[in-house]
Amino acid sequence: MSAMLEVKDLEVAYGKIKAVKGITFDVQEGEVVTLIGTNGAGKTTTLRTISGLLRPTKGSITFMGKDLTSVPAHEIVSLGLAHSPEGRRIFPKLTVEENLLLGAFSRKDREIDSDLQAAYELFPILEERSKQPAGTFSGGEQQMLAMGRAMMSRPKLLMLDEPSMGLSPLMMKRIMSTVTTLQEQGTTILLVEQNAQAALKRATKGYVLEVGNIVLAGTGQELLASDDVRKAYLGED
């Protein structure tokens, strides 16, 4: 079986500075794959390149058999690949409902309303506040909105960039359990996290990035058990 997403020898540079130095990984249908690593490891750069916001200097990105490196960013979401960006990036002056509907911008079918209801079921707080400007929300609520918005495109693959960043432990739990829910509902997930513990627990597969290179790969359980990972990312001796 060929992979849903296949990244090969990917290199991305900002000017002369290489942020990603030739990484190769893949995501199979139904998996939760996580990229972990410290700040500046190249995780966000990788996701932004897959989404077409950045262009690689080398390498290939294949999504469901299609090469993405020459597809304009705004056409990628309709191929079934949604990206919930780092820092949530909700549209602050628009209402919750408008934000969610923007998630379905590239769709023309008649089931958008029922998907809106599905998003409200996933996060009931969004329905209560559907007419409020999203900028008035707390970080956790904004994260829910960002995930709901990404789901509105009916993605086959959902990329989540640091969904737990800056959240209270309680909210972090809530968000991470939603990741599991979405997986159970059949969404394949590529998860970027600094919270390695929470990410690896849920991951079928994980990759550890360090300054633009993949230094370790394995199943979530293997990585959780690895001494290197425990020392570097889980704060254990």
């Binding site: 960013a73 705004h74 960006p85 990036r89 628009l94 923007l102 911008f105 590239s106 495109s153």
Partner: protein, 315 residues
Amino acid sequence: MDAFAQQLVNGLTLGSLYALIAVGYTVVYGIVQLINFAHGEVFMIGAFGALSTWLVLFKGQTGLWVLPIMIIGAIIASVVTAVLMERIAYRPLRNAPRLAPLITAIGISVFLQEFVRLFYGRVPFLDFPDAKQKVPFPQIDVVTGKAFEIGNVTIQRSAVFTVGALIMCAAALWYFVNRTKMGRGMQAVSQDPDTARLMGINVDRVIVVAFAIGAALAAIAGVAQGLQVTNINFKMGFLAGLKAFTAAVLGGIGNVWGAVVGGVTLGIVEAMAVQFIPGTFGGSPWKDVWAFALLIIVLVFRPQGLLGAKVVDRA
């Protein structure tokens, strides 16, 4: 009291004209953070587009029925100019330092003025008047002609047209921005272009739409100006554009309703200053001074403009 009411009418008329043009500055700025200094020329070309339509199709006609077609001609001329301008001059500079598109805008402005001045009278196969001087603008039944008198207040027919046009355009614009998918996409692009692309929004297309909307409103303003002043000329876009830009900043640049409020406010302040500031500093020669003084005062005490919000931090 009569003088006050009269100046209110005058100010509202002038302000509606500013507002129609100001929307174009603000919509484009809201999306690409570019001050399109050639927007005044888009307004001027709208007026010439209406005139050309009349000369080609209806020369000698004064019936009201020609007006909608003149307006369509004006809109086509302005929109084509604005879209070409964006495509040829601004898009290649999208990622250039901000000074580059600004200087380009000034260049386009001069180019368009000179183009109309030198070539309008020489269009092959068409008998257009020379545009080096003022060109008479067709006067149309119902919207020009004998003014209305209410008490001692005179209301020009063209003033009713101008204010009516602003009200209709503002309503249409409100509907577009808040109730259509493209309008929502436009708001998204103005708040966060990269994330808008992740939603599947084609940012290039949104930018073209922004230029086109601004141009359409400027075209209508061009017709209104022609009807009011009864003649048009290649330089008319300069001061009108500068005033409309002032109005946009006054209202809060980037905010569409700010442009409307700013335009109307500026028009009324100008009209009132002409009437009520006594002595040496009063009268119509000083109106521009007071208009720009108002701008300076607002910028000192409320730099974001009347309706502009302080920039919301992105979480």
